[in-house]
Amino acid sequence: MKIDDFSNEPVVLSQLPDAREVETHPLSPRYRIVNLATVVVVFLLISIGISIVYFQPWFPLPEPVRAVYPIALGIVGFISGCSFVYHWLADPRIRYAVRQQDLILHKGLIFRKVTCQPILRVQHIELKRGPLDRFAGLAKIQVFSAGGSAHTFEIPGLPIERAAQLRQFILDHKELDAR
């Protein structure tokens, strides 16, 4: 046990900073639009694809396959509908906050999750932009800590300038990985 930087003052628990009392910021409104548009486009592409197969005049389909057509369309429509409603309701509920020492993310529709990622524990950061993100001028920031990639802290749908700012803020954190 090394004692040089060790102190053991009692901590008043009621005076600890509370992660609930931080003001949070919404994502870019474009994030929801992109997601909703994606759902619609994917739905249209799949239904058009199925319909082309169904209505094309070149080769006759066996009867059981034809019978499946309305069901398949129904299932695709149902899943797309659910996904649309989910994004409609859930996307505005994703909110983030930045404190001096940590990042906080609120998300979830039925199960509300509040995740707090201390910056001191950050191993590395990635700024990711898919083709849709680039189209909409968005970026997502991924913050990796030890303990498994399944728990990667991710803030999606940030305007690119904001994402770059955040990244720089985390990198500038003075305690981050000395070596």
Partner: protein, 527 residues
């Protein structure tokens, strides 16, 4: 060869550094490494074959082995390639340890150059395959906190050199981070001198370990006398549904019950063999088990044929887990795990994993002293565990278990299927009991420095970790949970995540805030 240099002992750090430093020039391994390369190449090829054999079988059918002579030639070629592959690997492998960096150049077709600074090495494992043992050579495996790509091995060096290297590498982190404090460089070169053996496992302990870690089979074995009655019952039931086994199997050679008896006997024999195998496995991997401590390092040595030596710095321990299954509980034994960072390294079988230091089947009295060595002042068996909210039960029973049970029993009653009803009710009762036990076992508590979590169903697991080592904290609350003012706390450590479900909302946030505060205010490294 450079290694002879390493065998002279010295006590100053400069000497030590020098003795493991191979200088600027690249080194070749000891020739005995050819054996290792050949063995591992054959192993790799065998693993590859498992996938290829089906394809080969099909294609050989297609060609109907027309070109048998080619096949033979190919086979001979393959065998000769295998036998010289080790030699080639040997000639393409170089390493040097210079300026506190481990560097390895290896690979025949795809060359790799690994450069690993000492301070990024999180763990060092020394292995001795049985063919290394007569000449006292060893294999050194370096683990990093980063990706598995960066894992490096030095395939064959003298054991003494490996041990010096380990000492030097593991001392390096503390030297570089806290130069003013206690000096590992004064550590005596003789490895036995400072080491205190904390725990040994006798053969009896290992046999117990082998048995307790194969409990499914034992459970089945214990139920064997009831198989006959149960099978009669199932048979009658099937027959009442118009499905006769006699018809299916046919009255060929033996009556169906004879067949059942044969199967049963065979099953019991298989189970006994498996239990025996399990005991054999425990003996093989843990024979001569010692856990020792040298300053701030824990060292585990064990193994019957292949000797293994795993060491772990005390500061790297993220969490201690004391696991007790129902059989362990009956015998009063505990499996104790010291767990460290698992990210980046591929999943390995639990017994051999360098990320989990297992102390197998110790008695309950031995647990607390061992834990206190690694986490001073922690009290894992304290009586102050707070149980989780009863909402946990109402959620699981009320949403996931009881509605389907009511639905199914309703259907059974409607169709007057009383046997099915009984089965449904029994299954429901078992599930309920397990859920109640789970709720009853789940508990948590904390003190100034540590958090303790208790969980299990019939068995009992205790987890203990230091607050400042958390990586990330999540509080989950569904809208229903919010109404009832309960929340689930998920704590991420480098060794994995821990969940405390359904605790009072205020408690959850208090603990979450305390953990975040501990992580952010402490400047101590979590590694």
């Amino acid at each position: 060869m450079n290694h002879t240099r390493t065998e002279q002992s010295s006590s100053t750090v400069t000497h030590q550094q020098k003795s493991i430093d191979t200088g600027d020039s690249w080194q070749r391994l000891a020739p005995i490494s050819i054996l290792y390369f050949t063995a591992s190449n054959i192993k790799q090829f065998a693993q590859f074959l498992i996938y290829v054999i089906p394809a080969l079988a099909i294609s050989s059918n297609i060609f109907e082995m027309h070109r048998l002579s080619y096949a033979i030639a190919a086979g001979v070629g393959l065998i000769s390639v295998m036998s010289i592959s080790g030699l080639i690997s040997y000639f393409f492998y170089f390493f040097r340890i210079h300026n506190r960096h481990v560097e390895v150049k290896c690979g025949v077709i795809s060359r790799r150059h690994i450069n690993l600074p000492f301070w990024r090495i999180q763990n060092l494992k020394i292995e001795q395959p049985f063919y290394y043992r007569p000449l006292n050579f060893a294999l050194v495996v370096f683990d990093t906190a980063g990706s598995s790509e960066e894992e490096a091995k030095i395939v064959a060096v003298p054991l003494i050199y490996a041990q010096t290297l380990r000492k030097q590498v593991l001392a390096d982190t503390s030297v570089s981070k806290a130069p003013s404090v206690g000096s590992p460089e004064h550590a005596s070169f003789d490895r036995e001198a400072d080491e205190v053996v904390l725990n040994r496992r006798s053969i009896k302990d290992l046999i117990i370990h082998g048995i307790t870690n194969n409990r499914v089979w034992i459970l089945l074995g214990a139920a064997a006398p009831f198989y006959d009655r149960a099978s009669t019952h199932v048979y009658n039931w099937l027959e009442s549904k118009g499905l006769s086994l006699n018809h299916i199997i046919g009255e060929q050679t033996a009556a169906w019950w004879q067949l059942g008896l044969y199967t049963l006997t065979a099953l019991i024999i298989i189970m006994a063999l498996l239990a025996l195998l399990s005991v054999g496995g425990a003996l093989l991997s843990f024979y001569g088990y010692t856990l020792s401590r040298d300053k701030d390092r824990y060292i585990r040595r064990s193994g019957l044929l292949n000797k293994q030596e795993v060491s772990m710095k005390r500061s790297r321990i993220q969490m201690i887990t004391a696991k007790q299954d129902w059989l362990d509980k009956a015998l009063g034994r505990v499996n104790l795990y010291f767990e460290q960072n698992t990210s980046g390294t591929p999943q390995q079988p639990e017994l051999m994993s360098p990320n989990k230091l297992l102390i197998p089947s110790i008695t309950i009295d031995e647990v607390q002293p061992l834990i206190n060595g690694a986490m001073p002042g922690s009290k894992i068996y304290n009586p102050n565990y707070k149980s989780v909210s009863k909402r946990f039960l109402s959620y699981w029973l009320g949403i996931w278990i009881l509605p389907p049970v009511f639905l199914l029993s309703g259907i059974a009653v409607y169709f007057q299927q009383w046997h099915e009803l009984v089965v449904i009710l029994i299954v429901a009762m078992v599930l309920n009991t397990l859920m109640v036990l789970r709720w009853w076992r789940w508990g948590y508590t904390d003190d100034e420095r540590y958090v303790y979590v208790r969980s299990g169903r019939v068995g009992l697991d205790y987890q203990c970790f230091e607050k400042y080592k958390v990586q990330q904290v999540t509080v989950v609350q569904s809208i229903f949970m919010k109404r009832k003012c309960v929340a689930t706390l998920k704590i991420l450590l480098a060794s994995g995540s821990i969940t405390i479900p359904f605790l009072p909302q205020a408690e959850a946030w208090k603990l979450a805030n305390a953990l975040i505060y501990a992580a952010e205010s402490s400047r101590k490294s979590w590694m």
